[in-house]
């Protein structure tokens, strides 16, 4: 068993800030992440100065870490069961838990989206950062929001030929959002720099992918603006429609949600005593907001309420930016119509839209056709079906990830625990 006063789950910007801040007060802190290194998705494999300074603080404050560790179950009030590789592990927080589990991409199914080399937008970036060689490949980046730009830039830098960047939001909405960037000069500079790095690539607004075709891997993307279609040849199609909070672990703790975000108060406290949430899991607002939220959570979790309250105003400043972004890049209704009856919606269980189109709720689709019962546990199809049909999520059940029966048998049995 590993125990600490404060246990932080997720080592992205919010989790790093929470862990470093909590450790400052002399509390023992354990930082847990599924990946083999800290930084989360945004800072993985980067030489960012902000990332380096948080990592240095983690080290200086003697925060203990457990990487390659996935939490699969919880145990009241602040205990958890995890898997480190194939080893079951029990983790206990003496005082508080900070959940900084981040977000994942929203995928909306379309014909051909199961072809190899059709990847997410953040997915492409993650694979690039982990060493994917795309030199000489033709790539199309499609979806929505500011993330399209850095990913297109990263692909171009890695030697890919970016054929087109396709934004579903209409031109006027993107223009209004861009015009507002003068309020945050650093972001404006970033956007311009990214755009210049693939300057010869068309950036097409008001358009979206309706079909991917290929022969074992993707070969072309069919893109529409609602009136006419065009075909763009590609070896890599990156497409996703923004982010959704990764709320499974908070749900298992019993935290209340509102519109798929964990509800937190100004001190990042959830509805469950001693459980805090920080970063994207409590609402998509970007890494700067996540750092402030993590800092507030780290302070509040260690009883430094006055200091935490001083940061509340800084936090609310980021809410404006997030609201402007959500408005500009709101998903167009046509995206719900892109999947056909033959389109696979649940990739794990091979369930096509036509098999569940008559269902009235996720539960019915699950019972009838096994939707969401595969290894990803509905993490991909759940948010998609919420968009397409408005189906609310069902509860969440442990284990959160597939584990062996052998490991499962040790949970709750202290005699066989391993550390």
């Amino acid at each position: 068993m590993i125990s600490a006063d404060i246990v932080v789950i997720g080592a992205g910007p919010a989790g790093l800030a929470a862990a470093a801040t909590a450790a400052q007060s002399g509390s023992s802190v354990l930082l847990v992440d599924e990946r083999s290194a800290p930084g989360g998705q945004i800072w993985r494999g980067t030489a960012s100065r902000a990332a380096a300074s948080w990592l240095a603080r983690i080290e200086a404050q003697r925060v203990r870490t457990s990487f390659e560790t996935a939490i699969v179950d919880v145990d009241a009030p602040h205990g958890m069961y995890g898997m480190r590789g194939t080893h079951p592990l029990r983790i206990e927080a003496g005082r508080a838990v900070v959940l900084a589990t981040g977000a994942r991409e929203l995928f909306l199914p379309f014909p051909g989206w199961t072809l190899p080399n059709v990847v997410g937008v953040g997915g492409a970036q993650a694979l690039l950062k982990s060493g994917w060689n795309v030199r000489g490949r033709k790539a199309v980046v499609a979806g929505t929001g500011p993330l399209l730009l850095p990913v297109a830039a990263a692909l171009a830098r890695a030697g890919a030929r970016v054929e087109a960047v396709i934004e579903q939001a209409p031109r006027h909405a993107v223009a209004r959002f861009a015009a507002n960037l003068w309020r945050t000069p650093r972001r404006l500079g970033e956007a311009l720099r990214y755009r210049l790095s693939f300057a010869r690539t068309p950036y097409i607004t008001g358009s979206w992918v309706v079909h991917a075709r290929g022969d074992g891997v993707v070969r072309e993307a069919v893109v529409t603006d609602g009136a006419s279609e065009r075909v763009i040849g590609c070896d890599i199609l990156c497409t996703a429609y923004g982010l959704v909070p990764a709320v499974e672990l908070p749900l298992l703790f019993g935290c209340a949600l509102d519109r798929e975000r964990v509800v937190v108060d100004e001190l990042q406290r959830t509805s469950v005593d001693g459980v805090f949430c920080a970063g994207e899991v409590a609402g998509i607002a970007g890494k700067d907001a996540a750092i402030v939220e993590g800092t507030i959570a780290g302070l509040a979790a260690t009883g430094r309420i006055t200091e935490a309250k001083r940061l509340v105003r800084a936090r609310s400043a980021y809410a404006d930016m997030a609201a402007r972004m959500n408005e500009a890049f709101a998903l167009r209704p046509e995206l719900k119509q892109v999947a056909g009856d033959d389109t696979v919606v649940c990739r794990c269980e091979d369930v096509s839209l036509g098999m569940i189109v008559g269902c009235s709720a996720l539960r019915e689709a699950r019972v009838l056709a096994r939707v969401g019962m595969g290894p990803c546990q509905g993490r991909v199809c759940g948010p998609a079906l919420r968009q397409i049909f408005g189906w609310e999520r069902e509860g969440v059940r442990p284990p959160l990830l597939p584990v062996t029966i052998e490991a499962l048998a040790t949970f709750g049995d202290t005699a066989t625990e391993q550390t």
Binding site: T86, T114, P116, L127, W132, N133, G216, V217
Partner: protein, 82 residues
């Protein structure tokens, strides 16, 4: 540093700091698994959500290749070769 992996019985070389998913993609493996209906599948999310990249590593099945860093001597079997 260059390391060596065995993928479906074939030796491949890759950089020592890449993920198993990247190593496989770079080695030209486009199908990580095959569905019951015979369709090839490969990494989608790149961050451990979708499980489309699951492979067997050193005898342990169901490993998400995108989350595991390649290590010298690893023996990897893609799901469709089991």
């Amino acid at each position: 540093m260059i390391i060596e992996l065995t993928v479906n019985g074939r030796r491949i070389e890759c950089d020592g700091d890449v993920s198993v998913a990247a190593a496989l993609l770079n080695a030209g493996i486009s199908a990580f698994r095959t569905t019951q209906t015979g369709e090839p599948r490969a990494p989608l999310c790149g961050m451990g959500t979708c499980f489309e990249c699951r492979v067997t590593i050193d005898g342990v099945s169901g490993q998400r290749a995108c989350l595991v860093t390649a290590r010298d001597g690893m023996n990897i079997v893609t799901d469709d070769q089991r």
